[in-house]
């Protein structure tokens, strides 16, 4: 837990960089905090969803009459209750979602595209009654052959998920019906000639499994509707305003009728940037004229909500003897699930972003398969891309007998370099991260038998987007700050720290609140590592606006011009003829609010540029048991540029949590399907996320190279930490067993296979 300061920001902070106890912590350690499933309303019904028992089938007939007659049943909803809508883009999560697809994912229309796809929903007095009624709905399916893998999807005679839908993107595009929904490609320089001039070339396929975000709180919502068409939606979401617009579009409702109140959120990691239950609950509530609660089971979460794409990536990397990269070529195949829209686009942009590679080419394919529709997952697409490239770099380092950090240092991007995705980099901290990792004691720790050390790096853009904030002053001189970003990992604390820093009051005197869509100004969702950066900027601006009021009030009290009042260290100080006045604290001014013009309140809104990229470097020391193939993580280090850590504990927490998710994805987590396309492991027992005894302490180094786009130098930190681990852990295992691993997760059977292959 050390800090390495880059030069730059010379501002001396009083509160930023300290570690106060988070304001919402008390309610979270005592069980008072209300999450999605914790709300109960008088007269509330319980909703349940009937889900497809087939991975790929046409719905021939759907009959709900028997179910409607069941005891306690108040309403049933099918796709017939949803308005028909056209195609067209809408921004949400990592990509543009087609509203028609969004709606068809929420409730299947005509065809089911994965096992667990919703086909009908029931609201009844009790959850048992709703579930019983679901069983009485008769659905006549024409079962189709499921397309479960990328290879099956691309086969010549593959069954087609979306008949009549054409691929879009960069030509050449497939003619006629296809499971390829989008093709992207780009190139720079003469790649083929450059490979010919390379001294060493590595190439290979790198596969990663579909993996789930794994938030502990299942999706949940409670909806009330009114006779005038209004809908009050309580739900666990990363973006209440996004829920509002997605419900409006899927139900073709006037958005003005919708109010969304975010509950406390029990994890999201991107998976709660989209919607599943909310429009269904609105329709059920409208029909039943009662509030309706819907809560997913864990099994439903696995079968029907956002995993991230499984991928097959072929990568080729060429290098000169001195270690300089000369050429790279990549083909990326991404599982989109049942509907178009994998994070392949972001993957293609992050793929080469950390290095200077003079000649490169990539092709990326977004491919539909009969698996759940993927949703955003922490730096969507980037971990898969980095897995391929960072593994290839490790192979090159071994072949060239160059230290893997030195090889990266030789090619790493720095300020002024042109990013592979186009523009020039401003100040970035990749070199600083590599050096910090190299200098860390872990990098020099001796390794024993069957042990290996992996190095990996990662890049993520971090986003800006729209945010607003309101700061108001109470008559006791305390403050309230309101934003619209659900607090998923400590952001209330960073908002309060920001107000305390600006106004010069103790952080305990600031109360940070998260509002609903009617009580706060518009905020884009909690995602893209944007809250402390972008919403933090709105809070800084709102605080500065409050200070303008405070100066004016002080001028009123002193009978002087506003120009003669400065705000310094949390108090109004007189200058130029007003300097004989005793400085007024915030509390002094607050006491006189009523006499000086009334309540003091100010808002601000921003739509700042994308937020200054984050770079991270991870080290993993692993021991592999050659008898069982089991990998044990011995030591793990995360080094990342945070720009400026507003609350260092929660920055470290992001580093550690992202690393743990990546370790799980690399070693244990995968979606297993039977031959009919039914997920075989839809529970935490068999979908194996890391538990406390699986991991060591995760050491962190917070590098601070200030982001020139933010007044404090803040960079987003949430997503970058999941980018390096897949390759980092893979490189550690490969070095421990002396065989290069090409497939994740590296479960004991796969590792044993690799060891056996080596023995021949």
């Amino acid at each position: 837990m050390s800090n390495q300061n880059g030069s730059g920001s010379d501002r001396k902070f009083k509160v930023v960089g300290t570690r106060p106890i988070r304001h919402d912590g008390l309610d979270k350690v005592t069980g008072r905090a209300n999450y999605g499933a914790d709300l109960a309303l008088p007269g509330m019904l319980q909703g349940a969803i009937l889900r497809s028992p087939h991975a790929h089938a046409r719905i021939k007939k759907l009959d709900v009459s028997k179910a409607l007659a069941m005891p306690g049943v108040k309403a049933i909803v099918t796709s017939a209750d949803f308005p028909e809508i056209g195609s067209g883009g809408m921004a949400a999560g990592e990509s543009h979602i087609d509203p028609k697809d969004l709606q068809a994912n929420i409730m299947a229309r005509g065809k089911v595209l994965y096992h667990g796809h919703a086909v009908a929903a029931v609201a009844a007095s009790t959850i048992e009654q709703a579930r019983e009624a679901c069983k009485m709905i008769t659905v006549d399916y024409e079962v189709l052959k499921p397309v479960m893998t990328l290879a099956q999807a691309l086969a010549k005679d593959a069954p087609i998920l979306h008949e009549g839908r054409k691929a879009v993107g960069v030509p050449p595009l497939p003619e006629g019906d296809t499971n390829i929904m989008m093709r992207l490609a780009n190139a720079k320089g003469d790649v083929d000639a450059a490979f010919k001039g390379a001294d060493v070339v590595v190439e290979g396929w790198y596969e990663a499994s579909m993996a789930h975000q794994g938030y502990i709180e299942p999706h949940a919502t409670v909806v009330t509707t009114r006779e005038n068409g209004q809908a009050e939606i309580w739900c666990s979401t990363q973006g209440p305003f996004a829920v509002k617009s997605m419900v409006a579009v899927t139900l073709q409702m006037d958005p003005n009728l919708i109010r969304v109140t975010p509950s406390e959120i029990g994890g999201g990691f991107g998976g709660k940037t989209t919607i599943y239950l909310e429009p269904v609950a609105v329709l059920l509530s409208r029909k039943a004229r009662r509030p309706v609660k819907m809560v997913m089971s864990r099994e439903e979460v696995f079968r029907a909500t956002g995993p991230t794409s499984g991928t097959r990536i072929w990568a080729k990397l060429g290098v000169k003897k001195d270690g300089s990269f000369v050429a790279a070529d990549t083909r990326m195949e991404f599982e989109a699930g049942g509907f178009a829209g994998s994070p392949m686009g972001a993957a293609s942009m992050t793929l080469y972003a950390a290095y200077n590679i003079p000649n490169f080419r990539f092709e990326g394919l977004d491919i539909v398969v009969n698996r759940p529709k993927v949703a955003a997952y922490r730096a969507p697409g980037a971990p898969n891309a980095a897995y391929a490239l960072e593994t290839a770099i490790d192979e090159l380092a071994q072949k060239l007998a160059i230290d893997p950090i030195d090889l990266r240092l030789k090619n790493a991007v720095k300020e002024g370099d042109v990013a592979s995705y186009g523009p020039k980099y401003d100040r970035i901290g990749f070199i600083e991260c590599l050096q910090a990792a190299k200098n860390h004691p872990q990098y020099k720790a001796p390794l024993g038998k069957n042990q290996g050390r992996g190095v990996g790096a990662g890049f993520w853009f971090n986003v800006g987007l729209q945010s607003s904030a309101t700061v108001s002053i109470n008559d006791d001189g305390s403050a309230v700050v309101r934003t619209g970003n659900p607090d998923i990992g400590g952001s209330r604390a960073s908002m309060a720290i920001t107000v305390a820093e600006e106004l010069g009051i103790p952080v305990e005197r600031v109360r940070p609140l998260v509002g609903d869509t009617d009580t706060v100004g518009y905020c884009d969702l909690t995602g893209g590592s944007r809250v402390t950066y972008a919403t933090g900027m709105a809070v800084i601006e709102a605080s500065k606006n409050v200070i303008e009021h405070l100066r004016a009030r002080a001028a009123t009290i002193w009978g002087c011009e506003v120009d003669a009042v400065e705000w310094r260290d949390g108090q109004a100080v007189g200058t130029n003829g007003a300097s004989n006045n005793k400085p007024l604290s915030l509390a002094d001014i607050a006491k006189q609010m009523a006499h000086t013009g009334g309540p003091i309140i100010a808002s601000a809104s921003v739509n700042p540029p994308a937020a200054g990229p984050g770079f991270g470097v991870h080290l993993c020391d692993i021991e592999v048991d050659p008898e069982t193939g089991r990998s044990t993580v011995l030591r793990y280090l995360v080094v990342q540029d945070a720009g400026k850590a507003v609350h260092p504990s929660y920055v470290e927490g992001q580093f550690q949590g992202g690393a743990a998710q990546g370790i799980g994805w690399a070693l244990w987590e995968e979606y297993l399907f039977d031959k009919d396309g039914k997920m075989e492991n839809p529970g935490f027992l068999d979908y194996r996320m890391p538990v406390a005894s699986d991991l060591p302490m995760i050491d962190t180094v917070v590098v601070e190279v200030p982001n020139p786009l933010h007044p404090y130098g803040v960079r987003g930190v949430g997503e970058t930490p999941i980018v390096p681990p897949l390759a980092t852990v893979g490189n550690a295992v490969s070095r421990a067993i002396g065989v290069r691993m090409h497939q994740l997760p590296m479960t004991p059977p796969r590792v044993l296979d690799a060891i056996e292959t080596k023995k021949g």
């Binding site: 069980g31 938030y215 927490g653």
Partner: protein
């Protein structure tokens, strides 16, 4: 179906409730008694979010039938703090930033209390294995384990 009448003690207070034969204790705590501090993450006993103590023993309340609680003592997160304030475990979770989203936290607090009653001086490995039934997806467990060990030290009267 006839309801079953159950008398039990929750956090030291006597409770009477009616339940169905197959109803889980978790469901009664949350849906009938309004004790929503105990969370549901999986309902298969794999995540630990619904951890409670039953006569002092740590159990996932989703796997306990409500009817089984007859005459027994239940401990939930709502009973961890007292009139004098937070329990040291709760205080240390806050100080160490051992929670992010917080939904696993009630289960972890209850589990940690059960651990430290059995073993007031656990090693890091002992703490990790005892808490292996409590999933946290946000933190990577680092700060949780530090908070647990620090809470143990504090409860033994040592300053960590």
């Amino acid at each position: 179906m006839a309801k079953i009448q159950v008398q039990t003690t929750i956090n030291g207070e006597t409770f009477d409730y009616l339940c169905d034969g197959q109803q889980s204790l978790l469901s009664v705590l949350r849906d009938e008694l309004g004790l929503t501090g105990t969370k549901e993450g999986c309902s298969t006993g794999d995540c630990g979010a619904c951890s409670i103590t039953l006569d002092g023993q740590l159990v996932p309340s989703c796997l306990v039938l409500a009817a089984e609680a007859q005459g027994r003592e239940i401990g939930t997160v709502e009973g961890v703090s007292s009139a004098t304030g937070l329990h040291p475990i709760q205080q240390k979770f806050l100080e160490h930033a051992a929670l992010q989203c917080g939904v696993c936290t009630p289960g972890l607090i209850v589990a940690t209390r059960a651990l430290l009653l059995k073993n007031p001086n656990p090693t890091e490995a002992e703490a990790r294995y005892y808490l292996a039934g409590n999933l946290c997806r946000c933190t990577g467990y680092d700060k949780i384990i530090k908070a647990v060990l620090d809470a143990a030290a504090s409860m033994r009267g040592e300053s960590a």
